[in-house]
Amino acid sequence: MELKDKLVSSFLAFEEAFDVNSDIHELRTRSLKEFEQLGFPSKKEEAWKYTSLNSVLKPDYSVFPKKEDAIEYRDIKKYLIHDIDTYNLIFIDGIYSSHLSQTTHDKIDVCLMSSALNKSKYKPVIDNYFNKIVSKENGFTPLNTAFSKEGAFIHIHKNQLADKPIQIVNFATGNEAALMIQPRNLIVVDENAHVQIIERHQSLTDNPVLTNSVTEIFVAKRAVVDYYKIQNDRDSASLIDNTFVEQKEQSNCSLHTFSFGGKLTRNNLNFYQRGEHSDSTLKGITIIEDKQHVDHNTLVHHISPNCESHQDYKGIFAENSTGVFNGKVLVDKEAQKINAFQSNNNILLDDKATINAKPQLEIFADDVKCSHGCTIGQLDQDSLFYLRSRGIPLKEAKALLMYAFANNVLESVKIPEIKKRITHEIAQKLGVSLGFDL
C-alpha cells in the first residue's frame, strides 16, 4: 500500500486509540482531509523541483510504534549536549521517555504536548497558539496536525528567563523495520521572556526512519529566542522539518541549522515578522557527502516596518551529495524601512556534487534595503598551497579551509558548548585531527 493510503486508513484507529473526544479532534479530521487532497509533494511543484521524495516514501513505515523501554542514558549520551545543565525532552520512537527527560513547571513550562493537549490548564494557550501559523502549502504539515499527539510544549511566561537551555531530542530505536514519526512542538515565549532551545533527531540503527516534524514558535514583544537544530543523522533517516516562527515587536529570534548527515533533509523554515523593530536571524552550515541531500527552503515574510532579517547559509558538498537553497524574502507594501540581508555560499568538492541555489526577493514596499548574494565555487588552490607549505597535509588543509569558510555562521552561536560540539562534529565528519581544538 502507498504510504499516503496507509496513513489515511490508519487515521480512525489512531484517533480511537487515543482521544476521540479531544478538543482538537475536529482539527485533526479537517487536517487529514487537507492531507488527502494535497498528498505528498512531487517534483512537479516548484518548491520541490530539486528534492525527490520517491525513495523516502517507499519503505513500509510503521505508523504506530511499539513502546521501547530498553534505551538507557549511556546509549544516547553522545547525542546530547551533556557538559552543561539542560532541561531535556527525550522521545523514543515518538514516545516520551520520562526517565531520560528533565521537565519543569517552575516559572516556565517545559513539558509534553500530550499533556498540554489534554489538561484544561493549558487550554487557553492551545486555543490561542496551536496550529495558528502553519502553512498548508504541502501535505506534510496537515499530515502532522492530523496525527499530532506528542512533542515538546514549552511556555516561557512573561519576563521569565529559562534558566538553562532546553534540549528536544527524538530518537528512533529501529525496533520497527521502518518507522514514521511525527513530532509536534509548540513553543510560546511571552513578553520579555528568553529561551535557548536545541533540537535533534537521531536514529540509533540503520532501519529506515522518516520524521515529519512541525514546530510553531511564538516570540512575543521584546522576547528573545535562540534556537539550534543539529541534523547529523544516519544515512537511513530522513527528516522533513517544518518550522514556523511568528515575531512581535522588538523581538529577536535566531535559528541555526547544522546539517551534517541523514539521507534526505528538508528544512521548511518560515519567519513571519508581525511587529516593528523585530529581528530575525537564519543561519546554517551544511556539510554532506555520499548521496546525502539537504534542502533549505526559507521564507522571511516582512509584514511590519522597521525590521531586520539576516540569512547566512554555507554549504559544502562532497562526492554525489546534493544541496538546495531556496531562500525567499517577501516584503509587504506596509513593511517600509526594513533591512533584509541574504547570503548563500557554496563549495563543491567533487565533480558530481550539486547545489541548486535560488534566492527570491519579492518586494512591494519602496523604501527598503534588501541584499542577496550567492556564490558557488571550489576550495581556493592558493589557500591550500599556503597551508600545505606550512606542513599541513592536504586533508587537514582542506578541513581547515572548510572550517574557515563556515566560521562566520559559528561565530553567532551563543552557547559555547554548542560551538564546541559543532566544531567537534565537523572535525569528526571530515576525519581530521587538527592538532588543536577548533
Binding site: 589557500s383 598551497f385 607549505s389 606550512r390 606542513g391 599541513i392 581547515l400 574557515a404 562566520n408 588543536f436
Partner: protein, 249 residues
C-alpha cells in the same frame, strides 16, 4: 643544500622558467632580484611544490634528495619554508592555533607526539617577543584584517617557530615601512646559523642593507643572467635591469 639544475617550468603550457641553475649551501644567504614578471615568484613556488606549475625539464635537489615527486607538505617537513608575498586569510583560526597545527603536523611527520602545551606556549612567547609581536595579535584570526606589515611579520613569526633549514622569503619587504622592515630583517638575522640558508626574492636593494646576501642573482625572463657579490645589488639599483637582457649574456 639546494641544487637546482637546468630547471624549466611552465603554467598552462606557457614557459616561465627557462633553465635555472642555482646552488645554495648551508649558512649562505642568496638574493634573487629582477623585474616584474621575470619568474622570481614562480621559482619560489616551484621549490615549495605548488602543483599548478609543471616542471618540464631539469631537477631540484634538497640535501641530495630529488624534490620533484614530493607534495608541498612533504617539502615543508624536510625543512623548506616559503614566506608568502600574499599570505592567505583564515577566519576562525587564530595565529596560535594555526602555528600549533603546523608544528604538530611537522612533528607527526617525524613520528613525534604533539608538542606539550607549556612547551608550545614558551616557544610562542620567546619567538613573538623576538619579533615584537603583541600577545593580542596571536589570538586574532590568521591574517584576517592584518595590515601588510602584520602579515609579513606573521610570516616571519611562523618561520621562527618552524625553524626551517631553507627559508625562501618572497617579497617579504614589499608593503613594509622602514621600522617594520628592520624588525623583520632583525628576526631573520637572529634565526640565521651555519646550518640553515635563506633565499631572498626582492625587487629592491633596500632589504639587502639589513639582510646581507653572500650572492646576488639577477633573473630576467626566466633565467639567471648574472650572479655576483652583494655589490651587484647596488649596481642594479643604479642602472636598472635593461643592461642585462638574456641574449646579451
Amino acid at each position: 643544500m639546494l641544487k637546482i639544475k637546468n630547471l624549466h617550468a611552465s603554467i598552462d603550457n606557457k614557459e616561465i622558467l627557462k633553465g635555472i641553475n642555482l646552488e645554495i649551501n648551508p649558512g649562505e644567504v642568496h638574493a634573487i632580484m629582477g623585474p616584474n614578471g621575470s619568474g622570481k615568484s614562480t621559482l619560489s613556488s616551484v621549490i615549495a611544490g605548488k602543483e599548478e606549475f609543471e616542471m618540464t625539464r631539469g631537477e631540484i635537489k634538497f640535501e641530495g634528495e630529488d624534490l620533484t615527486e614530493l607534495d608541498p607538505e612533504e617539502r615543508a617537513h624536510k625543512g623548506i619554508f616559503l614566506s608568502f608575498q600574499y599570505p592567505v586569510e583564515i577566519p576562525g583560526v587564530s595565529v596560535t592555533n594555526f602555528i600549533k597545527a603546523s608544528i604538530n603536523a611537522h612533528r607527526k611527520s617525524q613520528g613525534l607526539e604533539d608538542m606539550k602545551a607549556n612547551e608550545m606556549l614558551k616557544l610562542i612567547r620567546e619567538k613573538s617577543e623576538m619579533l615584537e609581536i603583541d600577545r593580542k595579535f596571536l589570538s586574532r584570526s590568521l591574517n584576517q584584517g592584518f595590515s601588510g606589515g602584520e602579515k609579513k611579520r606573521n610570516e616571519i613569526f611562523q618561520m621562527a617557530m618552524l625553524n626551517p633549514k631553507l627559508a625562501i622569503l618572497d617579497e617579504t619587504d614589499s608593503g613594509l615601512d622602514i621600522d617594520a622592515l628592520k624588525v623583520v630583517a632583525n628576526g631573520v638575522n637572529k634565526l640565521r646559523n651555519k646550518d640553515n640558508a635563506v633565499l631572498l626574492i626582492t625587487h629592491y636593494q633596500r632589504l639587502l642593507d639589513y639582510i646581507v646576501p653572500d650572492v646576488v642573482h639577477v633573473m630576467v625572463d626566466g633565467k639567471i643572467v648574472k650572479s655576483g657579490p652583494k655589490e651587484l645589488a647596488y649596481e642594479l639599483e643604479e642602472k636598472g635591469y635593461d643592461w642585462l637582457k638574456p641574449e646579451q649574456v
